[in-house]
Symmetry: C2
Subunit: 342 residues, 2 copies
Amino acid sequence: MIIDVHGHYTTAPKALEDWRNRQIAGIKDPSVRPKVSELKISDDELRESIVNNQLKKMKERGSDLTIFSPRASFMAHHIGDFEVSSAWAAICNELCARVSQLFPDHFIGAAMLPQSPGVDPKTCIPELEKCVKDYGFVGINLNPDPSGGHWTSPPLSDRQWYPIYEKMVELDIPAMIHVSTSCNACFHTTGAHYLNADTTAFMQCLTSDLFKDFPTLRFLIPHGGGAVPYHWGRFRGLAQELKKPLLKEHLLHNIFFDTCVYHQPGIDLLTKVIPVDNILFASEMIGAVRGIDPETGFPYDDTKRYIEASTILTAQDKHKVYEGNARRVFPRLDAALKAKRK
Amino acid sequence: MIIDVHGHYTTAPKALEDWRNRQIAGIKDPSVRPKVSELKISDDELRESIVNNQLKKMKERGSDLTIFSPRASFMAHHIGDFEVSSAWAAICNELCARVSQLFPDHFIGAAMLPQSPGVDPKTCIPELEKCVKDYGFVGINLNPDPSGGHWTSPPLSDRQWYPIYEKMVELDIPAMIHVSTSCNACFHTTGAHYLNADTTAFMQCLTSDLFKDFPTLRFLIPHGGGAVPYHWGRFRGLAQELKKPLLKEHLLHNIFFDTCVYHQPGIDLLTKVIPVDNILFASEMIGAVRGIDPETGFPYDDTKRYIEASTILTAQDKHKVYEGNARRVFPRLDAALKAKRK
């Protein structure tokens, strides 16, 4: 079985975006703020948006199941207040839940949280619990920078985040650390902000003792870990300067990287440097990079090709990357699959 | 000849730091603000700080000449106003000039600029010109984020930077794009902010047409280009989505990467992915990562070992990385060497 741990609902029917635009307009002018009930998307519309897009490509490329969360760039936690984020997160999560109900063999949910800059993260817990308990979601996406590129929240090691971590530990779910749209003109969203956030999150964990407080907490750092594997020697050396344990002991019981690296040499570096138990297959398809690589003739984000072509990974390693590690990092996914005798 | 294009004066006599601390105290209390003339460092002190540190390691490791600029983390452009930065930059640059006069075969200067948040970059031009014309410096370090991790300046493609670029083109000098200390708690200086800035700067260039306006402008992106080579497929794909030319045409006449990547797999990725003409040897020694890698028994930042061990680079390629490319990207360095018949 091939599990893609990083998929977003980037192809939702346009009614969703229209509703969001009305919601945003309603921040300034409450008279135009739409009700949640005004968003109407039929099951057929959902099916169509998936069958012709993600599911089509999954079948073409040969992956079976995607952990599916709301569109990352649309989370835009910097817009409006907690109430705005709360309504928006509920809508987006519900759509992912409906997709996973319509295609139970191919999609399972991960939640966006109703984060809002300056608002205590514990306010996110009711939405988180609903998604896990009612919708059967198996993970969450945690935004380390709800300000959207101004980085006004404290680091992930700060105690403000602990209520989220306590709930994650209780429910035995991991978090993918994933920012949203940058509203800082310095940072291109998918070309700089995403990768920077990955590197930043890793270093926030490295300099702290977060995982002493939460030995079973698990973070999935997407986009191949930002700059981290490429600079693995730098990070090993910095940990040494800071008198931290070896990274393998200090962080790799708790931090995992996905394979959203869109060329063979990048995947080869990742798999050479990072222990195979810490690598989870993912493509973030349909996402930031949708074109065909003229150097290969195949889509940049068809990351399965790079894993398949790897001469570094053994067949057993590939099984871990495709399935075994995902079952371990997302125990609720494993339980859901086992309940179906998968 | 082996030229290290990225060295900072991280070992300056303690009197420098003491003076700076008094200068910082003087921001709040002008009565304690020190005069420039109160900083006294003798040639012997300078010699000692170099002979026992950078020069010793250069001889041990086998590099000949270092392009030497003030300590990056100490630039701290976010502290004080333009006047504070101006006095500080002048002092730091002069020390590098004196080092290069004391050791003319081993050091040649690159300037820090007296940048200050919210201040027009063109105010930096007198210091820049002094360093190039009076001190014989061959390049500058340009900080894309003088706020120190708050990213309040416009992107490098913004016209506010153009006066600097016009002067760089006129004087035929490149800029290393190098941030300083982060005063944002989210970003560890050398573990996140430096690498993020490298990635961010590259993406700012990618999304713009800056090099159409300045076809001969040259940026050196340090620390192996941040996350860029590891995600080269992502960047090629993003350029394609944005209808930009192939990166080779769009950016690689103007953007170069150094080899400050502190493990063999990282250097191998860099040299596999980035054309050899765009890679310049550097170690940033003595810098952020000073320890011995227990996996190799050698210093992390002894990057020459990784180049030597490369099976990807030919002997001719290595010559380019060590010397040829530096002479091309830093024409004033080449001229200075030729004047000495080197």
